[in-house]
Amino acid sequence: MSETLLEKPAVNAAAPVTEERKGLTKKEIAADHPTWCPGCGDFSVLALYFKLIEKRKMWHEKITTVAGIGCSSRFPYFVQAHGAHYIHGRALPFASGISLSRPDLHVFVFGGDGDAFSIGGNHFNHTARKNIKMTYCVMDNWVYGLTKKQTSPTSPLGFKSKTDIWGAVDYPINPLKQAIAAGATFVARTTHTNPNHVLQMMEAAMDHDGFSFIECLSECVEFYEGAFDASNPRKGGVFNEVPKTHDVTDELAAYKLAGTDFPGHFGIFYKVNKPTKNAKEAEIIKNYQSKVTGQQPWQILQKNFDKMK
């Protein structure tokens, strides 16, 4: 049993941590068959998550997949690993609870645009500013799909939905700008139609020590067909990567680039290294524990009680 949140938990000797295992196969990682509509962009995001797990030789027990509510948030059911399907909009604080108490795990959070930017908007900003280590992949389809076509916070002006039959009137959120302004330390954009690029972004996000955010365009073929055609060369669009000259540590340049009209750019917009909340809390723990070295918890508590006599 591990007594502190600093330590990586001890695993029973029956399964030594040095154990060599092969990367998991897709068959071993896949769980339930996805309930998404045929043609949904989310299928490719899931396939690439499997690929990431396989390529990076992650073990079942070390994979933690968390989601909120929405079509894309069904994600954890389809992954054969520890997972949690939490409530609408609150996946980030839930994942933060895991991240901050388990330094041995890298938490992946999947969700949609409503979950991230509407009901969960507050958590998005605060998880980003605190730089809590995890990867957040928002599968952005510009529409509420699970509830069958209502306006989402990323729906462009004029989009005709069941709640805006005359076309959306509210200005949409720009997820990248939001993330940069909130203080996210890794901000990237990709699209489900470019699998290699998705995998590339996932790997970079996973390797980032901090809050890594990926906006992944993921088309809803049922309620917003063709939304992202302009970004898909196979549909006559253009896939513009972030220019090689872009300085990913330049916040203003990243913000400006994020404001480019659709289809905009794809790739890493912003990436800086700042101490994570995980590291800062660990530092506080280390400092305080150094003052009580060698004492059992009850002895530390006894000191407090002695002062209350």
């Binding site: 001890a10 027990e61 994979i63 949690a84 399907h85 939490y86 933060s96 609870g97 388990r102 508590l301």
Partner: protein, 607 residues
């Protein structure tokens, strides 16, 4: 003030010294005057002198300033409540005098700062008046730079003189309080204290001395309910939690934030109440029972997430320090009106455990109990306290921390197979297996708020929904079977049984004592396990003609308070009636007695 022996006038016709068992002192001033510090010193002195102590504090909701009181009752015998009436009122200002003089018992002593208070001539007949220029004498004692600071310590000196309190112990307490600060601060404090103690106490003809206290079982510790909860959680092994500031819960999160790093843990201040419970649930999911807490408004915000924890069968401890509601309500007043939300709050059939400590000592041990129930039954547990216990300082026998402290660190030992919602589990009690645990079958659990099958995968099956709903309920029924019945205070048969829960235990017991002394047949029980209730309460109720549920909440649309309504629904017994109030103040013993009489004389009008 109860006299143990008749006062013996000392020779020379000067002040006489009377032996007393206990005293109630009310200190009234402004919130920045350090009156809580005086109260704290007295409470800790009582604790160190093996005396019983009970305090009552009101703090204004204003940011700084505003009227504030601290009432301390110290005694050599058992002290049950903070006292209906004060023996001594210490009034720093005119408004303190005007507002609190009526809280003095007839013949009581009002000690006032004559630099600020002009006493009412008519009241001089009713109470002993003792005017001392506290502000002026404090400045005289420690110099003009201190302004108003130090007069609380001067007043403490006056009280020490009046009650012949143990000076070396008080000096030590003052020393501890100001330790590590600029030595001139401690010197000033001691100078003010000695100046107060040296005061001849004007026209007061009597001083007092406590009779020797009954020997306690061991060393006592003195703390308030919020501190007891914080330390109880640490002793229970809790190492992670999250919260958002709200009165009167905030002290607990401040304590955990400050203390947990020593134990290798941390407590996170989140952006809002929903994030707080979500992060705590995430911590529990990660393998170790985590804690969150709040007061009424925050509990309302947390209920959706609470429902998830119930559905997903995740252990969790939620502290609800109740205050006056609904909405922002009365943030610094006492009320027991969150019982309904604690027991039933949220949507769907969502059984959770609710337990309610009755005193500060309970806060410590029931925090540990909450953690252990959460772990054993994989269920959220709400620890329901209130503003009264939160701020009340009491002494209790020091726990044996070496025995009490537990390690509940997660266990990641690989297992052969795991079903997070195993329907064949005895009494429906399955357990969570945290991420990081290898499951050799290769089938991994999903925890979820959707209705699910045994592995946690979504289902729309009517049969599974019925089975899982029953599973979540059966766990609590199994818990109920293990819960002890409350002890009956007084005979087990009689005319009236008073039923209480939460912070009202002291005044209810004292009401029983007084009623019995007057020849009335009254007993009481105090129920600490609110949901589920222990089995067999009906056997206790059957011994009485009337069962009166004493609560600090409204009598409701149908005439019964929140707990009263639950007991009536549970036992279908028309003799269960309620005594309720919503004035935001703790029960006075005489209120309970009067209301009991009124209720009985009105007959069973509400059936």
């Amino acid at each position: 003030m109860s006299n143990a022996t008749t006062g013996v006038p000392s020779s020379g016709g000067a002040q006489k010294v009377s032996a007393i068992n206990e005293v109630v002192i009310r200190i009234a001033g402004n919130s920045q005057d350090g009156i809580q510090a005086i109260g704290g010193f007295l409470a800790r002195l009582a604790g160190r002198s093996e005396q019983e102590v009970m305090t009552f504090m009101t703090i204004p909701a204003t940011i700084s300033g505003g009227a504030s009181i601290f009432q301390v009752r110290m005694g050599s015998g058992e002290v049950l409540s903070s006292g209906d009436e004060a023996d001594v009122l210490l009034a720093f200002y005119q408004h303190s005098y005007d507002a609190h003089i009526a809280s003095l018992k007839k013949g009581g002593i009002v000690l006032y700062d004559s630099d600020h208070v002009v006493p009412n001539e008519e009241l001089k007949q009713k109470y002993h008046h003792l005017g001392i220029p506290i502000s002026g004498l404090t400045v005289e004692a420690i110099g003009g730079t201190a302004k108003d600071k130090g007069k609380n310590i001067f007043a403490l000196g006056l009280i020490a003189k009046m009650f012949d309190l143990n000076m070396p112990k008080l000096e030590k307490l003052i020393g501890e309080r100001f330790t590590g600060k600029d030595p001139s601060i401690l010197n000033n404090a001691l100078a003010a204290f000695h100046a107060g103690h040296a005061n001849p106490l004007g026209n007061v003809l009597e001083t007092f001395k406590f009779v020797d206290a009954q020997k306690k079982d061991g060393q006592q510790v003195v703390m308030n309910g919020n501190e007891a909860i914080g330390y109880g959680l640490i002793a229970a092994g809790v190492r992670f939690g999250a919260g958002y500031p709200i009165t009167p819960w905030t002290d607990i999160m401040e304590l955990l934030r400050r203390e947990l790093p020593k134990y290798g843990g941390c407590f996170i201040q989140t952006e809002d109440e929903i994030a707080a419970i979500s992060m705590a649930i995430g911590g529990s999911y990660a393998g170790r029972v985590a804690v969150t807490g709040s007061s009424g408004p925050g509990i309302s915000l947390k209920t959706e997430a609470l429902g998830w924890a119930i559905m997903a069968e995740m252990p969790l401890v939620i502290i609800d320090v109740q205050r006056g509601g609904p909405s922002t309500g009365m943030p610094t007043n006492i009320e027991q009106s969150d019982l309904n939300i604690a027991v039933n709050g949220g949507h769907g059939d969502a059984p959770r455990v609710v337990i309610a400590p009755a005193n500060v000592e309970d806060c410590f041990y029931m925090a540990i109990e909450a953690v252990n129930i959460a772990r054993k039954y994989s269920v959220p547990v709400i620890l329901l306290t209130d503003q009264g216990i939160a701020t009340r300082i009491e002494a209790f026998v020091e726990p044996n921390l070496e025995k009490v402290c537990q390690n509940i660190g997660p266990d990641f030992t690989p297992i052969a197979d795991h079903k997070p919602y195993d329907l064949s589990a005895a009494n429906g009690i399955s357990h969570h297996v945290p991420p990081g645990t290898k499951i050799n079958s290769g089938k991994y659990p999903i925890v979820t708020g959707l209705e699910h099958d045994e592995l946690g995968h979504p289902t729309g099956s009517p049969k599974l929904h019925m089975q899982m709903t029953a599973k979540r309920r059966k766990k609590l029924q199994a818990l109920a079977a293990t819960l002890p019945l409350p002890k009956i205070y007084g005979p087990s048969e009689g005319n009236v049984l008073l039923v209480g829960w939460g912070s009202t235990e002291g005044p209810i017991k004292e009401a029983v004592d007084r009623a019995r002394a007057a020849g009335d047949s009254v007993s009481s029980i105090h129920i600490k396990h609110i949901n589920p209730l222990p089995n067999g309460l009906e056997n206790i109720f059957s011994g009485f003609n009337h069962v009166l549920v004493v609560e600090m909440n409204d009598e409701g649309l149908y005439g019964f308070g929140q707990f009263g309504a639950i007991l009536r629904a549970r036992y279908c017994d028309p003799k269960i009636q309620g005594i309720n109030k919503t004035d935001g103040l703790t029960w006075k013993v005489k209120e309970i007695l009067e209301r009991t009489k009124t209720n009985l004389s009105a007959g069973l009008s509400k059936i």
